[in-house]
């Protein structure tokens, strides 16, 4: 069967001039929509601007930034621009100290989101004949439902395998003839490790062809290794729940940068210190304005993700510009197995236990099973030497940490004084020993 190389040919290859005209039209209506919220009314008043000040695309620079703290401060519905009866979905991030962030979607938002993900999946060569297995977590985590809806839109057979149970994942890959998989990069490596243990040869025993990897920064070397091991082509996926989830940007078959859907977003790269724009090619913080959302549009959202705009046209024929692979975060957030974690979340849980002192150390490391976290924490005094009691305490801490940060850390209780603060007085709370790219 012969298909177009594009899922939305007209929009994906739209001449820049038309695309920019579309962006401007959508930006103007988004600004008007945002002014339904008190939050943006106040921000506009502070800056002394009105909706009429937005006449060109460049005027986006006049608009106020929005941050994750703004989302938290306006929890749960402060940034919503539609009445609740028009909302059909809510996603909520893992949250930090106080409030989680909440993102609202109307039916149209969900349709557009599915469409964006369908474009991405089509772009990497998925077609209705393919069998797509999604090993991302479902539920509040957007990569589960986001890819599910996109893959069903493409018309692929979609296996909602969700995270974990690697042996079963491999069984399904074999039994269903799975051709396309979405997984976080460290989990893709884990699948390969278990395949080796089980004597499964990806080239001989599976039909795997395409792997979509995202939600975790990873290097070109890691991609190459995954491609070699699993006998696939691997494509980089980028998305954040505040924008919707997966489908914001994705690599095409050129594997040289991620196309960001400019009919959905206005892209800026800024210097995170001065907040001034940086020239194309220079690394800075990615700032996105949603121009195709109803439930909770955001102006100049500071993603904290570091990347650069790549100049020049792409051989694939899409006119939407590309960004470089993600280079990390501009703040102290830890990204582990695709989940956002703040050290303070961990601290909050540890402090709940009266048996523990306030000294702790988070170590991030990599072994054969991928990235993992160890939390060393001091016992306040030798309250007991009962081994079973200590084991039980460790278990309870682990459980509560997992509930808070959504990944399971390894918890070690250490004697008082062994994690003493450094000479400068400032405690080191996080050690990142993960394999760097």
């Amino acid at each position: 069967m012969s298909y177009s190389p594009y899922f939305n040919p007209e929009l994906e290859t739209m001449p820049r001039k038309e695309l920019e005209a579309l962006q401007l039209e959508r930006l103007k209506s988004t600004v008007k929509r945002c002014l339904n919220t008190k939050f943006y009314q106040d921000k506009f008043a502070e800056l002394g601007i009105t909706a009429d000040d937005i006449q060109t695309l460049d005027d986006v620079k006049k608009l106020p930034f929005t941050t994750k703290d703004d989302l938290r401060a306006n929890y749960p519905f402060g940034l919503s621009t539609v009445p609740m009866n028009e909302c059909v979905r809510l996603h909520s991030s893992s949250g930090t100290t106080g409030n989680p962030t909440v993102v609202l979607h109307t039916q149209k938002d969900l349709d557009e989101w599915a469409n964006a993900v369908a474009r991405c999946l089509w772009m990497v060569g998925s077609r209705p004949e393919d069998v797509f297995q999604n090993s991302a977590g479902y539920g509040m985590f957007t990569a589960g439902l986001g890819f599910q809806y996109g893959a069903e839109k493409v018309g692929m057979l979609t296996v909602p395998a969700a995270a974990g149970n690697t042996k079963r994942q491999i069984k399904f890959i074999k039994d269903f003839g799975t051709t396309v998989v979405h997984a976080i990069p460290s989990y893709a490596s884990r699948i390969y490790e278990v395949m080796k243990e089980e004597g499964v040869d990806p080239a001989r025993d599976t039909k795997l062809r395409v792997l979509c990897i995202g939600a975790e920064p990873h290097s070109e070397e890691q991609r190459k290794r995954i491609e070699h091991d699993l006998h696939v082509k691997a494509y980089n996926s980028y998305g954040i729940s505040e924008m919707m989830g997966p489908g914001v940007a994705f690599e095409c078959q050129e594997q040289n940068g991620l196309h960001i859907w400019e009919d959905y977003f206005i892209v800026e790269i800024i210097d995170p210190q001065t907040l001034e724009p940086v020239p194309d090619g220079q690394i800075g913080e990615l700032v996105l304005t949603t121009i195709n959302r109803e439930g909770m549009p955001l102006l100049r959202y500071r993603t904290r993700d570091l990347t650069a705009i790549m100049s020049g046209e792409c051989a694939c024929g899409r006119t939407h510009r590309r960004i470089q692979r993600l280079q990390g975060r501009s703040d102290d957030m830890i990204i582990l197995k695709g989940v956002n974690i703040f050290p303070i979340q961990i601290e909050k849980i540890l402090l709940k236990f009266k048996e523990l002192s306030s000294d702790y150390l988070i170590t991030l490391d990599t072994d054969n099973g991928g990235d993992f976290m160890t939390v060393d924490v001091e016992i306040s005094q030798l309250f007991t030497d009962d081994y079973s009691r200590l084991t039980q305490l460790t278990k309870e801490i682990t459980r509560q940490l997992k509930d808070e940060i959504l990944v399971t850390p390894k918890v070690r209780l250490v004697p008082k004084g062994s994690l003493k603060a450094s000479d400068e007085g400032k405690a080191v709370r996080v050690k990142d020993l993960r394999k760097k790219f």
Binding site: P76, L90, Y138, G139, E152, L157, T158, V159, P160, D403
Partner: protein
């Protein structure tokens, strides 16, 4: 409110005519697309034209879970793979899970049925509903999810786990509806009480409870502690997923989506159909499914079909609450578990004797599963001097069980000969849960 007046309140004559027409069509469809059914029909000297009215259904063969297993993974699938857009899986009796493929139309009908349930529970556009069934291969999560979106309520895909955050969201977002297992609802109530969240601080109004049997007493307790009305929702992945049947505001029996699923009650021993009102095993024939239609699928659930009309105005027949099983399947935390799955794991581990005991209990409203296994005498004497050997073996059994059962089980290693032997057929299951 009624979502689909036309279908849910159809006159009996019209419904029977529609069912007869659809039954003929589905039989013709499987005859031409599923070799398994073609063979079964031929063995009975049947051709699709022999099936003209719904009464003719008794001529058809039964389908069992074993048939699904023998035809793993897709032997009973009628639609070509290119038209299947999703699969779900449930536990099989041994190694292989049961796989069900859905076409786009199947998902649309499922969503329609879910919308009927939610509307019957009183969920509409202005509601916010959290879905705390597991998402993924289990039908509970995505099935309920699609329905909530379809009726225009806002869905919060909470999934399972992280109960404290869920409780916080219930309060902060003013969530009005929740879909989960009844035991999880009680666990949630307990968590809220521990966190100091009172019934007055939340706006829960509707609970859609299913995936495990529950009693009127549990309903009273949940309703009282969470301040909502709790409704039963029933389904199974082999037939579709949640919303094969659902309660209405009368909370007296679950209306079956009869235009899509034809119910029968049979005697599980003689396999004879039983008259209305009598208790027996529930059997479903899917009337509209494309992906994996089933003829007379034996659910193993024990219930009865109710006589008489319901005050809500729906004419769709009602089934009573599930009273048990005609096989040994256990439902633990909403997940189906067969003792034979455990047996398969135990037999594959050389250090373990082929003897085991499943102990199911309910602690703080959460089901627990403990599996006791016996270490073989030769292993017990030699290797066990090595420190850590016992723990390693225990972990190995736990890990293998988890990958087969999809839920965690606590494994206890027992000395050789210590698991009680009973006379004759050994008792392998001790279910200490009391459904009060």
């Amino acid at each position: 409110m009624i979502w689909n007046q036309n279908k849910e309140c159809m006159s009996r004559d019209e419904m029977s005519a529609l069912q007869g027409k659809r039954l003929h069509k589905v039989v013709e469809y499987v005859y031409h697309n599923v070799p398994f059914y073609r063979k079964k029909l031929q063995e009975r000297d049947l051709i699709p034209d022999d099936i003209q009215t719904i009464e003719d259904i008794t001529k058809l063969p039964y389908t069992t879970k074993k048939d699904l297993r023998d035809n793993y993974p897709t032997g009973l699938q009628a639609a070509p793979m290119s038209q299947i857009i999703r699969v779900h899986a449930s536990s099989g009796t041994t190694g292989n899970p049961t796989i069900v493929g859905y076409t786009r139309k199947d998902i649309a009908i499922w969503t329609e049925c879910m919308s009927r349930s939610l509307t019957a529970f009183g969920i509409g556009r202005n509601d916010i509903m959290s879905v705390a069934y597991g998402y993924g291969l289990f039908t509970g999560g995505l099935g309920a999810h699609n329905g909530v979106e379809n009726v225009g309520a806002a869905v919060v895909p909470a999934s399972t786990g992280n109960t404290e955050k869920h409780a916080k969201l219930l309060r902060d977002l003013g969530i009005t509806g929740i879909a989960c297992t009844p035991s999880y609802a009680l666990y949630l109530a307990e968590t809220m009480e521990k966190m100091g969240i009172t019934k007055d601080q939340i706006k829960l109004r509707v609970g859609a409870f299913g995936a495990e049997p529950w009693t009127e007493n549990m309903r009273k307790e949940i309703q009282d502690r969470l301040g909502l009305k709790g409704y039963n929702i029933y389904g199974l992945s082999e037939v579709m997923g949640p919303s094969v049947s659902y309660e209405c505001q009368c909370q007296n029996g679950s209306h079956i989506c009869e235009d899509h699923f034809f119910p029968e009650i049979i005697n599980p021993v003689t396999l004879e159909p039983l008259p209305r009102g009598q208790k027996g095993e529930l059997v479903f024939t899917t009337l509209t499914k494309e992906g994996m239609p089933v003829l007379r699928y034996r659910t193993r659930d024990i219930t009865s079909l109710m006589e008489g009309e319901c005050n809500c105005g729906r004419t769709a027949v009602r089934m009573t609450a599930i009273e048990g099983r005609s096989d040994d399947m256990l439902i633990i935390r909403g997940i189906n578990v067969f003792p034979s799955q455990v047996e398969a794991v135990v037999l594959a581990i050389p250090e373990i004797a082929p003897r085991y005991m499943l102990i199911i209990d309910r602690v703080n409203n959460l089901d627990t599963l403990t599996v006791q296994v016996e270490v073989r005498p030769d292993y017990f004497t030699s290797d066990f001097d090595t420190p850590g050997a016992v723990e390693n073996l225990r972990k190995k059994v736990e890990f293998k069980l988890r990958s087969v059962l999809s839920i965690g089980a606590k494994v206890e290693l027992k000395a050789p000969g210590s698991i009680e032997r009973s006379q004759g057929k050994s008792v392998r299951v001790l279910d200490k849960r009391v459904l009060k």
